[in-house]
């Protein structure tokens, strides 16, 4: 019970209300029409008749409409439109770099320099921001009876929850988030391949990561693997405000969160050069992923989560 309560705290009512204002309110209004929002592009044989097609050798004989044969003396196969909910798989990078910034990063850091959130003054780590995002997305999907799957990984896949649409499943996801510990270095490529092997049903794959893999090409290959398997792929590239603007004052001993490598430098001096290199890094992903028809979304922890979701929903309009 305690876990449930803990899990629910991710469903920040403010966030949800804001999301509702934009898109979810519409979902509530058209409650019964919700399954129609996600028409499958694939034809099946389950629910609703679609059309007849002339029999061809190899077709299952049980789908032959004998009534039509009786009337026309020809074999017709009866086709149905499969109306199914979306399978969404959320993949979370839980490497050590995602745990930052945190209040423990710098004891003496000025208040003004701390990453700010809308209603909380303590620095919001990328991982925490990701939790909010995942919870919001899961809730949103669950409301739509979409199946939500979840996996998290660092240099390997730690847990994989298959896609389900039940409300209890969403709670499982939230509890799983609570139990996540960040320890290891970022290696995204290999886990993506592993997950791709597991996903048998095509759907929407959402990767949430800071993409600090030493080998970006492996990350891109992993994402392309998913794309080739027929999944729609969305990448939420999550970064902290510190990383984006690199605005520090005075001399700082930077310690790498994953490798413990230390560099003492004066940030003002290297700021321009840092930003140039950092933007190159971002642009590399943006360009390459766009070429592979993968949606790339740069999310900043300082921007409200509802805006990030709004941006996501806007981008998914074409999907709907």
């Amino acid at each position: 019970m305690q876990q449930r309560i803990e899990g629910r705290r991710f469903l920040n009512p403010t966030i949800l209300a804001q999301i509702g204002n934009l898109e979810l309110i519409a979902k509530y209004v058209v409650e019964g029409f919700i399954s129609g929002l996600h028409k499958s592009p694939y034809h099946g044989f389950s629910v609703e008749f679609s059309q007849y097609r002339q029999y061809m050798p190899g077709d299952d004989t049980k789908h032959i409409d004998w009534k039509v044969y009786g009337r026309t003396d020809r074999y017709y196969i009866k086709q149905f439109e499969e109306e199914t909910n979306l399978n969404c798989y959320i993949l979370l990078d839980t490497s050590q770099s995602m745990a930052h910034p945190s209040p423990e990063d710098l004891d003496e850091i000025d208040e003004s320099q701390q990453t700010d959130t809308s209603d909380n003054t303590e620095p919001l780590s990328k991982l925490r921001y990701a939790f909010f995002l995942i919870a919001s997305l899961s809730y949103f999907m669950a409301k739509q009876r979409d199946a939500v799957g979840f996996a998290y990984f660092d240099d390997k896949v730690h847990q994989y929850l298959p896609a389900r649409s039940s409300a209890s499943h969403m709670h499982s996801i939230l509890l799983t988030l609570e139990s996540i510990q960040t320890e290891k270095e970022t290696r995204i490529g290999e886990p993506l391949h592993q997950i791709a092997e597991r996903l048998t049903k095509r759907g929407l794959v959402i990767l949430i990561s800071d993409l600090y893999d030493e080998n970006p090409d492996e990350v891109i290959e992993g994402l392309e693997h998913l794309r080739y398997d027929g999944h729609e792929v969305i990448v939420f590239h999550i970064l902290s405000q510190q990383e984006v603007d690199f605005e520090f004052e005075r001399l700082i001993r930077f310690v790498d969160s994953e490798t413990d490598q230390e560099i003492i430098t004066t940030p003002q001096v290297i700021q321009d050069s840092y930003l140039s290199n950092f933007n190159d890094f971002i642009n590399h992903y943006r360009t390459t992923l766009n070429q592979s028809d993968i949606d790339y979304n740069l999310i900043n922890t300082s921007t409200p989560i509802d805006r990030s979701l709004s941006a996501y929903l806007a981008k998914r309009q074409g999907f709907i």
Binding site: E214, Q242, L251, R253, T259, Q261, T265, T266, I270, N277
Partner: protein, 698 residues
Amino acid sequence: MGFLVGAFAIAGAIGASIPLVIHLLNRERARRLVFSTVRFIQMSHQTNVQRHRLKRLLLLLMRILMLILLGLAFARPYFAEDPASAPELGGVRNAVIILDTSYSMQYNDVFAQAQNEAIKRLDSLESADAVALILSADKVRRILPIDSEHNHIRTAIENAELTNYTTDYLDAIQTADEILKAVSVGQKQIYLIADLQKSGWDNFLDTDRLSPDVDIEFVNVTDEQSVNRAITDINVPPVVLLEQKDTELVARVHNYSTERVENLPVSLFIDDAKVETTQLDIEPSDSSDATFKVKIDLQTESAHTGWVEIDSDALEIDNRQYFTVQSMKSIKVHCVNGERIRSDIKDETFFLTRALKDTGNEGAPIDYTESTKFPSEDVIQRYDVLILANVSGFTAAEAERVKSYVNSGGGLIITVGDQVDSNIYQQHLGGIDNPLLPCTFMQASGDAIGKETFQVIASVEYRHPIFMPFSNPNHGDFAKGRFYRYFQSVPTTDSTVIAAYDDGNPAIVEKIYGNGRVLCYTSTIDREWNDLPIHGVYLPFLHETIKYLALKQAGQIPDYRVGDGVEYSGSQESAGKEVAVFDPDEKETRFNLSEQGNLFFENSENPGIYSIHKSGEKPHFFVVNVDTVESDLTPRNPEELTSMLVGTTETDRTPTELTPEVVKKYKEDVESNQSISTFLLLAVFALAITEMFLANRV
């Protein structure tokens, strides 16, 4: 290195620590920040941070340096030796450079070497040192007073010109010593840059020693084996007569080298035309005479100029000697016979006539005439020489005529005898106010009849032109003549006794009267009172006397040397008139004659022929030659000279007293001249500008 105001240096050093302290106090403690990844920081860190660190370090150093330099600038630093051991104590080393400009320095490029050596000595001095310059030659000396402005001295050395004068080292050294005496402190040094020839030291006296605190360095610029030849003397007859066939001119050439000279061409020029060339062999360090026996083709009775020259050598100026010569057809002599006894040996002019008439080619061509009466006013002016031989007396008019004749340039010989009335002579020709008589006749002395006692001419002024030919041994002995009787006489104040008897009474007395001369012979011209006429010297003596009086201008030719003052005597009538003097380079200078019609010309700086032109008269020539004492280039040993001039040993020298005032002034002088403070302030300014630029650069 020292400081005049040391406190500022300390303040600067302390001040320099201020930026360092600020830097250390402001140094940031690096705070630890765990960051997602340092990958991008690392990519940017290396070059930027290193550059930034370098810039900050540079700025720190510049700020420290600025404060140090500022402190140093106000401390007024200087570089100098410890005053206790500094030779230039007193702020300056005092040096006097003596540069020899005598004509011996014209030898090859000796003078250029000397100038270089002088510049070297000047360059060896510090800028604070004081230096004086003496351009030294006899008579002409240029002195630049002691000063620390070296550029003036340098310019003076570079522009120094050689003179045609001889050397006088001692005078220059004494002048330098005087200059250094006026300096109270500091090392005192004389640099003598010269050829150190022996002749420059001939007049050394013990009193010429240098002051005890003065050092001298001799810089000898002469060649070890200098070779020089010079015409040291020239003997040209004062007159050349137009009809004279073999005029003898003698030039003495000296060989100053250690090698024999063979076939040295010696040439004679008259009126710019070469007359004859002969050749000479001269032993080392010896002289040889070149004799020219020529018939000089002189067309007119006037003054002529010429020179004798030898082939060129390294010292050109002494290779030529100039002369002037007067040409004259014959000498017109008139004798007033006071004791005429025709065709008798007792005739007053018996010996005189034979000595002067029809002498053929020997001796001077004389046109001799005789009378017993005074010539008239017009006639008397035709004669070159008038002889009053034992003339008893004359009227006042005749006396005036004679005076006028002598005053206008005539020559007068007065001989005495038993006819002479000394009172009349004294009355008309003597007196107090400018008498014509060279001496006052007292009374006749001696027995010309008994001839038991006699006097001889015991004293002869052989430097006088009349006696010069007799100056050498075996060239005539006046002492052979016996003088039994003569007039005792007292020479006037402005006359000269050129021969005297052994009892001291004058035998021949000369006086210059106006433009003429008077010779008084205090015995008879015939054998009545003496037997000189039967001796060999009688005829040449008369001839020399006639020539001397007739050619008084030629006979008066003085031996002008470079720098001598030349006195020109014009007539009374030409007083105040303008004359033009042309020097050897034909450069004209105009003068006005004095009230007495005289001119004193001083600009005889160059050897050669000068001429004085006066309107309506023929030009008057005079020549100026170099003094060949300078031609001997043999140098003195510098060490010998040092011991001669310095004398005392080094330990005897008086050290400069090291008072605090002296040390302070020394330091101030050095600091002032070095101006290090100014440069330091400029450096601070430049650093401040650079620091500002660098600090504001992103």
